[in-house]
């Protein structure tokens, strides 16, 4: 592949064709601020924060959309560029609730962070702000569209990654809004990919609301137990309670999760959760009156082994069937079928993950 030489802020690097200026800068560990850019999504070029100066081009260009050409000389920071970035940020904040004190995203918000770095306190451009009275009634995703900066990441992730297209840009100009068709409540798979890529507090998980600030939260990396896919997840734990689940972009699943992995964690702290084996005591006259008693693991396994042997000797091995779970790992499922085939002696074995 052809290599192109590019000089950014005096540092030179060779990059493959079709590398953007932004990516080249990141290879050189040069920071360029961005809001609408996401490495896994097609470039948008809407927030204008990543503008840079390129020798020979009369106006600043967005580094996220501009491919490197051979011999290109780029300046990522100059008084003029920084001034423009500041204006852009002020404009965004002039149409933003600026209620960071109570915002779920505070401390983890790209917009807030940029405002901090650019020292924006006063705003020269106060004016009309978008106000939306209606709240989305869906069970998982809080959509506060007044905080939306129209970066379009949610639209793209829904389309390009998830292939759903539940939301799109609607209307235009200052009235532009990202929403489901006819501004109805969100009605989708609720994978929450949009929440994961939102750089502001516009999209958050309803379950996370008022569950604590980042400083009180311990992050623990683990694997999602829901299915054999085994996505890498990060548990956000506060006072020994899982209050949120995310996934890092540098994992093999690239940070993408499904609705169960992202939002289905309430069982962990559920009082109904089974923690010890239960043995059923049958009521012969009415099965509705069966009761369960707690048992130790040894007792439970002994009981199972005895009953299986009884059934096998009385009715043959094929009277027994085994159903495994998608929430087990591949290894566990392998062992289970081995148990059924080798120990019990039947091929009656199946699995719920034929979703």
């Amino acid at each position: 592949m052809k290599k192109l030489k590019v000089t950014i802020d005096g540092k030179t690097i060779e990059v493959p064709e079709n590398t953007t200026v932004l990516d080249a800068a990141r290879m050189l560990d040069i920071q360029i601020p961005t809001l609408c850019h996401h490495p896994k999504l097609t470039p948008f070029g809407g927030c204008r924060l990543c503008i840079v100066e390129i020798k020979g081009i009369p106006r600043p260009v967005t580094s996220c959309t501009t491919p490197v050409s051979d011999g290109m000389e780029v300046t990522t920071s100059s008084p003029q560029i920084e001034d423009l970035r500041k204006t852009v940020l002020e404009l965004i904040l002039s149409d933003h609730p600026n209620d960071c004190m109570v915002c779920e995203k505070a401390g983890d918000c790209t917009l807030q962070e940029l405002a901090y770095f650019y020292g924006i306190r006063e705003n020269r451009f106060g004016g009309e702000r978008r106000v939306y009275a209606k709240r989305d009634g869906n069970p998982f995703i809080e959509r506060d569209m007044e905080k939306c900066i129209l970066c379009g990441r949610c639209v793209k992730v829904c389309d390009e990654v998830q292939g759903v297209g539940a939301i799109d840009f609607t209307y235009r100009g200052f009235k532009s809004k990202i929403c489901p068709p006819y501004e109805k409540d969100l009605n989708c798979e609720f994978c929450g990919q949009c929440v994961a890529v939102c750089p502001t507090g516009a999209l958050t998980g309803k379950q996370w609301s008022l569950r604590g600030r980042q400083k009180d939260i311990k992050e623990i990396d683990t694997t999602c137990p829901y299915c054999g896919t085994g996505c890498n997840i990060t548990l956000h734990v506060r006072r020994n309670e899982v209050v949120r689940i995310t996934s890092r972009e540098d994992t093999w699943n690239e940070g993408w999760l499904c609705v169960k992995g992202r939002f289905g964690y309430k069982f962990i702290n559920s009082p109904d959760r089974l923690k010890k084996p239960l043995i059923r005591i049958k009521d012969r006259s009415n099965s509705l009156n069966d009761i369960f008693r707690e048992a130790s693991w040894d007792e439970a396994l002994d009981y199972i082994a005895t009953r299986l042997n009884e059934i096998k000797s009385k009715h043959g091995a094929d009277a027994i069937g085994g159903l495994s779970s998608a929430r087990c790992t591949n290894e566990e499922n392998y062992l289970f079928q081995k148990l059924m085939r080798a120990a019990v002696g039947t091929n009656n074995v199946d699995h719920c993950a034929r979703l």
Binding site: P43, F44, G45, G46, C47, R48, I51, R59, P60, V61, T62, T65, T66, P67, Q80, D83, L84, T87, V88, L91, I92, S94, D95, R124, F125, G127, E128, I149, L150, F169, Y171, R172, G173, F174, K175, S176
Partner: protein, 591 residues
């Protein structure tokens, strides 16, 4: 009785609005009714023609008798009988209805290339076009020129894009020709959206075949087998005529398979715009043809490399394309003999506003603005003073009377902070408030912003808010400087041409009319045009007590007895100006 009579009725959108269809009907039914001999009828042809520019005088009717053309203006159906009786039958033109000297002056300084056949031929008849050497350029290109030779000729002619940016057409074609791809496209951009510009509509309505011919030649030059005309749905007549023209051209083999037996296929489809100004921008236009929201994307890559459906695409404006057949037929030397060093040929402008003769004009590049306004336009209406000429519409700027001797070409206009743009040209007089005019344009661009990038989406909104408070008398100290700062940042940081040029009217009016802005900050609109800043009152000595204003007032702010001076209650008055408009005695004053 005269022989060989041709009657031409102007039938552009303007002509039809003024009653062109009714006038043509009147001619036809009168001929029948009067039982004009069959032999005569055969020799008397009547047809519709496209726009000839001076729409303000519609309905314009030409009666050509024995090769002598008589032009009538302001014709109404009830006037037709006299023309038929006295002129067609009697041989004596009706002198008092003929156009005056102004009409001829209007045409004298113009040089017509693109419009040369508009207004002379029936746009719905391919034979009429072919009778004036139509499709001869296609024939010449297909039978005797290579694509490279065509491109070379375009480059030598110096033709530049007439849509606004002025990019050399030949260079664009060459880049697309060199791009390697299995499929290429040529698009005719007829999404004329500038308020105050109607060149493209008039060209398509008046001579659709020239545009098609230009496209065929372009397609041949770049190697495109498919073309699109992206045209505004607001131009129903133009669409209709274009459809017919494409159908006719196909029947004659100028479009379709194996054109001139050269094994080259080319077909044109029409795509109707759906009402978004931003779709005049190349990448937004492409998104729109693909059926998506018309949001521009960053360039590079340019459409000549990656355009429609990702394939190399050339996008040319209507006027640019309509020039091409004439350049091919008459040669690049002929074309480049008009114009200035860097701006060759002619340019069509839509001259409107406060000049006497408003309409469509075609002038050689480099003509002075003074010639346009005073010779062609006939000066300012009502003897008022010219205040500024606005060119380039919402992306342009204004030119003050002391700069009237400026040459109208790409470079000279850019030098003074304006642009040729697509060709809107609006004369403003002392009654026009420059702040208000700038606000008007900004209102337009702001409402047409696609919303993709921050500087345009929020920046133009903030600009407009500042302009709005200034024109309402609540401007703040420092607002002018804030406008300048925000404007220059929006220009520098916006994604597409819309945002990059939207602040131009503001910057240009601040540059030349700063004192008007300052006056507004002090609570005065010098032109008395910003109605929120005015108070209306009745001048007692002029008021006859007729009650016209009282009846016209929508707010019930006016009281008074009959035949006695009336009064306006300032606390009820909504400042709509209705009383000012209806008063015949100039008894309503505004301050």
């Amino acid at each position: 009785m005269n022989k060989n009579i041709t009657i031409q009725v102007c039938m552009g959108t303007g002509g039809i609005a003024a009653g062109g269809l009714e006038v043509l009907d009147a001619f036809e039914s009168l001929m029948k009714e009067k039982n004009i001999p069959a032999e005569f009828k055969k020799e008397c042809s009547m047809h519709k023609v496209g726009c000839r520019g001076l729409c303000a005088r519609d309905v314009l009717v030409d009666v050509i008798a024995d090769n002598r053309r008589t032009i009538y203006q302001y014709i109404k159906p009830e006037m037709v009988e006299r023309i038929v009786d006295e002129h067609v039958v009697g041989g004596n033109p009706v002198s008092e209805w003929q156009v005056d000297e102004d009409y001829h002056k209007f045409h004298e300084k113009q040089v017509k290339v693109v419009l040369s056949d508009c207004g002379n031929i029936d746009p719905e008849d391919i034979n009429a076009y072919m009778a004036v050497d139509g499709y001869k350029a296609v024939e010449k290109v297909f039978t005797s020129m290579t694509p490279e030779e065509v491109i070379d000729m375009m480059k030598k002619s110096g033709l530049r894009g007439r849509g606004g940016a002025g990019f050399p057409t030949g260079v664009k074609w060459e880049a697309c020709r060199k791009a390697e791809a299995s499929q290429k496209y040529i698009i005719c951009n007829a999404d004329e959206g500038d308020p105050g510009a109607f060149m493209d509509r008039a060209v398509i309505e008046g001579n659709p075949h020239a545009v098609i011919e230009g496209m065929v030649i372009g397609a041949y030059a770049i190697g495109a087998s498919k073309g699109y005309v992206y045209i505004r749905a607001e131009y129903p007549l133009a669409v209709e005529r274009l459809k017919k023209a494409i159908k006719d051209a196909k029947e004659r083999g100028f479009l379709g398979k194996n054109i001139f037996g050269k094994g080259f296929d080319f077909d044109i489809k029409i795509k109707l715009g759906a009402g978004a100004f931003v779709c005049g921008e190349e990448t937004a236009l492409i998104a729109s043809i693909e059926g998506q929201r018309g949001m521009p994307r960053a360039k590079p890559p340019f459409p000549v490399h990656r355009g429609l459906w990702g394939k190399p695409t050339v996008i040319n404006n209507v006027e640019t394309l309509a020039n091409i057949p004439y350049i091919i037929k008459k040669g690049h030397e002929w074309f480049s003999s008009y114009g200035t060093e860097k701006s060759k040929g002619t340019k069509v402008f839509a001259l409107t506003g406060k000049v006497k003769n408003t309409g469509l004009i075609e002038v050689p590049m480099g003509i002075t603005l003074r010639e346009i306004i005073y010779d062609i336009g006939g000066g300012i209406e009502g003897g008022k003073a010219l205040k500024a000429v606005q060119t380039g519409g919402p992306s342009g700027g204004c030119i003050t009377p002391d700069m009237l001797d400026i040459n109208v070409d790409y470079e000279s206009l850019a030098k003074v902070g304006s642009i040729v743009g697509s060709g809107g040209m609006i004369a403003l007089d002392e009654d026009d408030c420059m702040v208000n005019v700038a606000k008007y344009f900004l209102q337009f661009t702001q409402s047409e912003s696609c919303g993709k990038c921050v500087p345009c989406r929020i920046g133009t909104k903030r600009l407009l808010e500042i302009m709005d408070r200034i024109t309402k008398g609540s401007g703040r100290q420092g607002d002018i400087e804030l406008l300048e700062k925000l404007s220059s940042d929006i220009k520098a940081a916006s994604l597409c041409g819309l945002g990059q040029t939207a602040p131009n009217p503001v910057l240009s009016t601040i540059k030349y009319f700063r004192e008007e802005y300052e006056a507004h900050l002090q609570g005065k609109c010098p032109a008395k045009a910003c109605r929120e800043m005015l108070t209306y009152h009745i001048i007692e000595e002029f008021c006859k007590g007729c009650g016209a204003c009282l009846r016209a007032c929508p707010a019930g702010a006016i009281t008074g007895e009959k035949k006695k001076p009336h009064k306006i209650a300032p606390e009820i008055c909504i400042k709509c100006g209705a009383c000012f408009d209806v008063c015949k005695f100039k008894a309503v004053g505004k301050e």
